[in-house]
Every structure is written in C-alpha cells, then in structure tokens.
Point group: C2
Chain length 207, copies 2
C-alpha cells in the first residue's frame, strides 16, 4: 500500500527550483524550448537546436535537463512524466495493472496544483491546433510508444491510445463537466468499473 502511495510522487514531474545556471539562463532555455518545440514540433526539435537558440552549451543543457522529454515537461509546465507512468503501470503484478492505473490517476488528480496544471494544458490543447499537435507528438513518443513496446498483443499502439482516451475522458467528465456522480466517485467506486477496462486494453480479455 505504501508502494502505491509513493508511486504517484515519482511519476509526478518535479517542478525544478532554481538551477546553478541562474534564473536568467533557465528562463532563456525554457523560452527557447517553447519556441523550438512550437516551431518544429516535438520530434524534430533537438536539444542542440534549443541550446543554440538559448545561447548556451548543449552539454550544459543535457546536464541540467537530462533529456528532451524532461526539458519539454519543464517548458510546458507539464506535471506528469509519461515515462514514469509507464514504469508504474508495468512495475508489479500483471493482474493489477488496471487497478494500479486507476488509483495512480486519482491520487495524482487529487493534488490541486497538479490538477490545475493538467487542466491548463488540456485547455491550451483544445484551443490551439499547434499546441494540440505538439502535445500529441510528445504523448505518442513518450507514452504511447513506450507503453506499446511493453504490450504483447496485436495493435499495441491502438491499445495504448485507448488507455489514454479513457483517461482523458474521465478527466473531462470529472473536472471539466463536473458531472455527478462521476466527479465525486472515489477510487473504490471506480476501480471495479474502470480497472477491467484498462486491464483489457493492456493485457487482453478479462474473464
């Protein structure tokens, strides 16, 4: 149980504090990252290109942000690390994948700061085709492809995207529409209904 409570903290992207590079450098890097991601898309933007636009050394950028994924999370103030979510889903009993995912999501969304940032990203994506495309490329590359690689079934990408679609829809129903009873439903209410959905998308038919 304590494992399940700790896991969402690992998957929540940390909001890095001030870095040794100084606030100005960090601001310039994030601005350059937003510009490059916006102009080139997630797949084509590169750490090297962002470093050049920001006027900093590429090695320094790697040192402070680790990867393009991490830089993207920081630049878009995106509160979830998809790579960590995939790890969390896959790490543990195969029979419990669906339940782990439901409990993870609800724990994450119960944190107002994380929820607010997620909803801000959703609003921006719904309002802007460019941001929607950027977010899609990021989610496909860092969540769908990673998750699909772990699935031993036909159509793994489609299955991974159906998982994503049910997560998105749950978020819209709970936090945009705020429809009752789904908006106030607890993990214990939702697990019996939702866990088998994720389990079937991820693992196949459930008896």
């Amino acid at each position: 149980m304590s494992d399940q409570q700790e896991a969402p903290k690992r998957a929540a992207a940390r909001r890095p504090g001030r870095r040794p590079g100084g606030a100005d450098t960090r601001g310039a890097v994030l601005e350059a990252a937003r510009a490059e991601f916006g102009a080139r898309g997630y797949d084509k933007a590169s750490m090297r290109g962002i470093a050049r636009v920001a006027g900093v050394d590429a090695a320094l950028l790697h040192h402070y942000f680790g990867s393009k994924e991490q830089l993207f999370l920081a630049a878009l103030d995106f509160p979830i690390d998809p790579a960590a979510v995939v790890e969390l889903i896959m790490d543990g009993e195969r029979e419990q994948m669906g339940e782990r995912l439901v409990r993870f999501m609800l724990t994450l969304w119960s944190q107002p700061e994380i929820l607010d940032r997620l909803l801000a990203v959703l609003r921006t994506a719904v309002g802007s085709e460019q941001i929607a495309a950027l977010l899609r490329d990021f989610m496909v590359r860092e969540l769908v492809v990673r998750l699909a690689a772990e699935l031993d079934l036909e159509n793994p990408e489609l299955r991974a995207e159906l998982v994503l679609s049910q997560i998105l829809g749950l978020a819209v129903a709970r936090y945009v529409l705020r429809a009752e009873p789904i908006a106030s439903a607890t993990a214990d209410d939702l697990v019996p209904l939702l866990a088998p959905t994720f389990q079937r998308y991820l693992v196949g038919p459930v008896g």
Copy 2:
C-alpha cells in the same frame, strides 16, 4: 445493416430551417433561450420563461420546438439528440449494445458538419465554466438519467457517465490530439476493443 445506417440520422439533431413564426421570431426565441439557459442553467430554465423573454406565446414555443431539450439543441447548435441516442443504444439485441454505440458514434463523427459542431461545443465547454455547467446539466438530464433508467445494475448513473467519459476521450484523442493510429482507426478496428468496454459499463461483466 440498413437499420444501423439509418439510426444515426435519427439521432442527429436536425437543424431546423425557417419556421412559420418568421426568421425574426425564431432568432429572438433562440437568443432568449441562450440567455435563459446561461443565466438559470438547464434544469431551472423553463419554456414559459424563455417565451416571456422572447415576447412570444408559450404555446407557440412548444408547438415549434416541442420540448426544452429540442429548444436547447437548437439554441446551442448542438448536433446530437441524447434522447435518440439512448433509444438507439437500447433498441435491438442486448448483446450488441456496445457495438451499436461504437458504430453509431463513428458514423456520426464521419459527417464533417456534425463533427465541427460537436468540437465547437467541446471547445466552448472547456473554455467556459458556465457553458460547461450548462452542458453538464443538459447531458445529465437528457442522456445520463435516461440511460441509467434503462440499466438494471448497481450504480447506473456512474455507469452511464463512464460510457460518456469513454466517448468524450475517444473524441479528444481522435479529433483534438489527432493521435495515430486511433485518429484513423475504422469501426472494424475499434469495435473489438471498444465495444466490450461499453458493453461492460452498460450490461455488466462480459466473458
């Protein structure tokens, strides 16, 4: 098969043409309806109140729009009639409910004019808490409560809202994010994966 192709046409809300009341009267009624729905919400707004604001006879309003639901559909340019969707889901083999729903949605969304209007409603709801609340009350009253009344299981409202959530999420993944392969997946691709999800929400465990 021809039944399945006809059904979405019935569930698609017709866009009424000019009515005998005249274009000015119709415009005034729709404006009054938007104002009243916006100010009072779906449940508290009344045909009588809307008629008064529009300066028309309440009986005339009923004659031309039939019901509060129909007036709402016209005022918000909402392209789907939830009552007809519920009928469509319930009308036919119980074992095929999930598949009927998947094929219905995809047929509906394949019509660009309907899809555009749905996405416009979604964008407005995501951008405005007032519209989100109005849309929620409408969907709960006209879709969730109606559908739940047909379900012979525990938590029927939660189940109906999970159906709605998977529909919303599929729409966001396909038409907002436009993630592949889900964006181009056909009914035949999606039925084997999605139909059991809806079937389980609506009818209970599927073997």
